[in-house]
């Protein structure tokens, strides 16, 4: 039996609920793309895609795909009214220049000082694919991570120090896992809220660095 926890859709809904109207947001490949569909329909959030889109809309209906309109994950997408096209240098100027309010990324590991490892699985991996991960991690105004709390074999992904090759140093400020929402602060990991079925003691055991629980709510 799997442990109690939020589904990926529930995680995405939690992230989406925390994004205010008007933010410019880049959603990394993988779980973060689920956030797009979880944003309330009456809240305007402008999605950016590295390959030159702002105002990215949802996936088109089957048969309505436009072959010229894909996102950074190479999926067919649509464009909202108010959207714009631009080239790669301009796109990464937006990212590197700090114009993206939020980037949501997946992770192999996040360290208590905010270090992120999400691109290569070992030093020996000679042909890893970095894509735009390092630019996003270094450039966006804030980096939130969406990830399972541990690997499948129970190894913590929230750690004292990353063992995987780093993507960027000290950039992650919040982590959404299947068990909890955790801030990354000057004092390390601080619990914001957690799944009701998960005891704090268990959560601490599954976290690879001190987790300050304080008066975190659970929901």
């Amino acid at each position: 039996m799997s442990p109690p926890g939020w589904s990926r859709q529930e995680m995405a809904a939690k992230v989406a609920a925390d994004i205010p109207e008007g933010w410019y947001v880049n959603l990394g490949i993988g779980i973060p793309t689920l956030v797009a569909d979880a944003i309330p329909a009456d809240r305007e959030v402008v999605l950016h895609s590295e390959n030159g889109l702002l105002g990215m809309g949802p996936a088109p209906a089957k048969g309505q795909e436009d072959p010229w309109l894909i996102n950074a994950g190479k999926q067919h997408v649509t464009l909202h009214k108010g959207g714009a096209f631009f080239h790669h240098a301009d796109s990464f100027a937006m990212i590197r220049g700090g114009h993206i309010d939020l980037c949501v990324l997946g992770a192999y590991e996040v360290a208590r000082n905010g270090d992120l490892a999400n691109w290569a699985t070992s030093e020996a991996d000679a042909a890893p694919a970095v894509g735009g991960a390092m630019d996003l991690a270094a450039g966006a105004k804030r980096i939130w991570v969406m990830t399972e709390h541990t690997t499948r074999d129970g190894t913590p992904k929230l750690v004292e120090a990353c063992r995987y090759p780093l993507t960027a140093l000290g950039v992650v400020t919040r982590i959404y896992t299947n068990f909890a929402v955790i801030d990354v602060t000057q004092h390390g990991f601080v619990l914001r809220n957690k799944h009701a079925g998960m005891a704090i003691a268990d959560l601490k055991r599954l976290t690879g660095a001190p987790l300050h629980a304080g008066d975190a709510a659970h929901v």
Binding site: E21, G22, Y24, E44, V46, H48, L54, G55, L79, K81, G82, G83, A84, F85, F86, A89, F92, A93, M94, I95, R96, G97, G98, H99, I100, G139
Partner: protein, 227 residues
């Protein structure tokens, strides 16, 4: 709903502080955000650093702001235009500081500020007085000067069309420094000849995507100012 348009020039300029660095778009008379610049006089900010290609002409726009004594320093490539009488009088009187930057280096330093590039090497001005005391380096057999990003607290630009997301287009040679400065400030304010419905601008032809723009003032607000 995102709506960056503001009805009044006071709202457009709210929060600009004394000592701010203000990027002012335009080249020659084309694309000058004169309504915004002149309204800074009533807004009241003092001790400003202005970044602009020219140092104003005649008695309007930037010249008017300088005449009102609000500008401490100007960073520009070409202070002496026909009609830059206000600047020249202030400069001779020692009442304004001047920092001359080659036009392309000015554009690139602004672009760098918008693009998260803190510094870059350029061949421009190597071996000249404008590179004096600057770091230089030989790369690939040629000599270059290190230049730093030039960010603004505020950018004032003039657009042709704008929508409520802040997407901008320009008109002909009105693109000039406007489209570069729009990317380079913490607060970018555009005066626009036309504010159109969201979706009315072709996504292929938007020059400044709304991500760079914080407030849009329709130029119809000019009437209100005159009234």
């Amino acid at each position: 709903m995102i709506d960056k348009s503001v009805a009044k020039v006071e709202q457009a300029l709210a929060g600009i502080e004394d000592g701010a660095t203000i990027l002012v778009g335009g080249f020659g008379a084309v694309g000058q955000p004169d309504l915004l610049i002149e309204s800074l006089i009533d807004q009241g900010a003092r001790d400003l650093t202005i970044v602009a290609n020219n140092a104003g002409a005649g008695q309007v726009g930037l010249a008017k702001l300088m005449q009102a004594g609000r500008v401490r320093r100007i960073v520009c490539s070409f202070p002496r235009s026909a009609g830059s009488v206000v600047f020249e009088a202030l400069f001779r009187a020692g009442k304004i500081e001047l920092d001359i930057v080659p036009q392309g280096t000015l554009a690139e330093r602004l672009r760098a500020a918008g693009a998260g590039i803190p510094a870059f090497f350029t061949p421009t001005a190597y071996g000249t007085r404008l590179a004096r005391d600057k770091e230089t380096r030989e790369i690939g057999g040629r000599f270059y000067v290190l230049e730093y990003a030039l960010p603004g607290d505020v950018a004032l630009v003039e657009a042709w069309s704008a929508d409520r997301w802040g997407n901008l287009t320009y008109q002909k040679s009105g693109r000039n420094f406007n489209a570069v400065m729009a990317t380079a400030a913490k607060l970018t304010i555009a005066q626009a000849h036309h504010v159109v419905e969201l979706g009315a601008l072709d996504p292929e032809t938007i020059v400044t995507p709304g991500i760079f723009v914080h407030r849009v003032l329709p130029l119809s607000a000019r009437k209100e100012l005159a009234a």
